[in-house]
């Protein structure tokens, strides 16, 4: 789960990480009031969406589709600028490299005091899966895509790892600061910031903190100009405050509903719906559909605890996608019994008036009983015995590469 920059910076303040003064706004009048109260002549007017690449994004009018402004993060040199920029941002569609072409409507802004930048750095804290520890990664090349830096200038990236029980070591922090060319009070501030951010990472159960850019100002202060924070959803149970920072408009409505039902659903662009048990098998089912010339419409794992209700809901979610022209059900029964799934499939088809072709593959627990139930029903369902066969069949039924 991700949070907005303004929320992340609030968290930074709580942990003593230096940020500029800033105010969260939801309208042009908010933005102007924020400008007046900040008292800084130069401010940044920043669109608040979860996707990255805001600065280079383009804003469009959501109704007419006309381009409104280039850049979702703007530097305003006057009150008039603030008015113009916030008007162009608020309620419009921001399309960035990461949002896809459908973009995101911006309903939150952040107005932040300007600062005199001397140098831009990059700083991130994340989980290193291979070393099974928390990694701190910093680079002298701030403001740029870290993947590009890793590709073209890997020696600019410096890393230290936290000890799982002891945390960050002082000498590691000092050497990281040193590798970034920091000295004097900048270095002291950098080391303090590393410790504060690490404490926040642990206390708030983050999955990622990224600051790009982290700047050294002309007076030598180290300031987090941007803030991207991801939270580990597995830890939601011990962080009830997350309900308040969660922005549901940033999540696909249907993905939230699916999640509430114990389903794991991700919408894709194809026309073959998939209903599968198990994340790996669900991915493999999509892959095999593609391998035989089809395009999967979704990832859907009904999970180990699926019931008739959740399976009916799963069908409903698949069918809400207008692109769906056929459905492949692939169940390898373990705890889930294929006969239970078969009955749910029949009920769901009746209840929802299923019209698209349906191919079902059962294997594992009670697969024969499941197949018998489907074959004896009055609804036309194609039963197959392998995933391969199922994928070929559904691709064939909807007419191949359409």
């Amino acid at each position: 789960m991700n949070i907005h920059e303004y929320q992340a910076k609030e968290m930074f303040r709580e942990f003593g990480v230096r940020v500029q003064e800033g105010i969260h706004c939801k309208s042009v009048s908010d933005a102007l009031a924020a400008y007046d109260s900040l008292g800084s002549e130069i401010v940044a007017v920043k669109s608040q969406i979860h996707a990255g690449g805001r600065g280079k994004g383009i804003l469009y009018n959501p109704e007419s589709g006309e381009e409104v402004m280039k850049g979702g993060v703007k530097i305003a040199f006057s009150r008039e600028d603030v008015e113009e920029f916030s008007r162009n941002i608020c309620g419009n569609l921001l399309v960035t490299k990461q949002t896809g072409k459908e973009g995101k409507i911006v309903s939150n802004m952040y107005i932040e005091s300007g600062c005199d930048i001397d140098h831009e750095f990059y700083l991130a804290i994340l989980v290193d899966r291979d070393r099974k520890s928390v990694l701190v990664m910093a680079s002298t090349e701030g403001g740029m895509d870290i993947e590009e830096v890793a590709e073209n200038n890997p020696e600019a990236i410096h890393k230290i790892w936290a000890d799982p029980s002891l945390g960050l070591r002082d000498d590691d922090c000092a050497s990281l600061s040193n590798s970034l060319g920091l000295s004097g009070s900048s270095s002291t501030q950098m080391i303090e910031m590393l410790n504060s951010l690490y404490a926040m990472f642990i206390e708030k159960d983050c999955s990622m903190i990224e600051i790009n850019p982290l700047v050294r100002t002309k007076d030598g202060s180290m300031v987090a100009l941007d803030a991207k924070v991801g939270l580990d959803e597995n830890a939601n149970f011990r962080h009830p405050w997350r309900d308040e920072v969660r922005d549901l408009s940033e999540e696909e409505d249907v993905e939230i509903r699916a999640n509430d039902l114990g389903l794991s659903y991700v919408k894709l662009d194809g026309n073959i719906g998939c209903l599968v048990n198990g994340a790996g098998l669900a991915m493999a089912s999509m892959d095999v559909i593609k391998l035989y010339g089809g395009e999967p419409a979704n990832f859907l794992d009904i999970g180990g605890g699926a019931t008739r209700e959740s399976i009916t809901a799963a069908f409903q979610i698949i069918l809400e996608d207008e692109n769906v022209e056929g459905i492949l059900v692939n169940i390898f029964g373990g705890i889930i019994r294929c006969d239970m799934v078969a009955m749910s499939v029949i009920e769901a088809s009746k209840e929802l008036g299923l019209e698209v072709p349906l191919v079902v593959r059962f294997s594992g627990t009670n697969h024969e009983e499941g197949k018998a139930i489907l074959d004896s029903g009055e609804i036309s369902i194609h039963t197959v015995s392998s995933l391969s066969e199922g994928a070929r069949k559904i691709v064939d039924l909807i007419g191949g590469d359409s």
């Binding site: 989980v127 011990r238 391998l291």
Partner: protein, 308 residues
Amino acid sequence: MAIWIDEESKILIQGITGKQGTFHGTRMVRYNTNVVGGVTPGKGGQEVDLDGRQVPVYNNMKEAVSETGADVSAIYVPARFAAAAIHEAAEAFDENGGGLIVCITEGIPTLDMIRAVDKVNEFEKVRLIGPNCPGIISPGLDGGCKVGIMPAFIHKKGRIGIVSKSGTLTYEAVAQTMSVDEGQTTCVGIGGDPVSGTGFIDCLSAFEEDPETVAVVMIGEIGGSAEEEAAEWVSENMSKPVIGFVAGSTAPPGKRMGHAGAIISGGKGTASEKFAAFEKAGIYVARDPSEIGQVLVGALIEAGLRES
């Protein structure tokens, strides 16, 4: 022979009186798995009926291990208590000659797992499998040893090792070996979380040393670089044929595909990179999991282990 568990293994169930613990414990006993006890704090002294077998409950792992001499533990406790259960099991096994911890629980916070794995690594003779995995099974002649939630009846004792990040896809791989009349030595589900215990290389290396295993099926998925590292290890160390599949070729970047670890981030961890690494390492690749059986047969023939 098999790896890590066999019919002699003595199993404890952490969370035995819970719904999951009792449900799966019953199925483990039904498969003739030697379940010797369980742990639920506060319920020590009780007994649990698992398919007609009366199994003692202990208050903590230290007591359970020293009373029963168990060397394997299956964890079915809820996510918020699971890391503590791993710590407890690790310490108890360390004091009693070592053991294997199999954590089935899904949804454990990543930072909890970092600390739990670090704890387990303190002890040379303690191994952790999982979390968020189907467990491990070594089929025997009459039932076998099943520590986890997999459907036992699809397995048969044989000579193929299986290691996989995914649950149901492991079952698919098992079914594929069965479709070409090959059974399994041991099947290990290592789980799909970003931070977990036993990895591909641990399993591959154990299968390489196991005299009964002649070939290994390895199932990976998008995210991280464990498959690439395993492939490199295979090319340098593995004398037995390895058959590989990677799930997630069609997964869009930046989206978590069910498993917390199954995410392509910053263009890294894609299926095509992993398949390429497999091919480079001389791993026999199946692009469709329904073809694992056929690819396995080809590999066995090439190694002189099968006629046709």
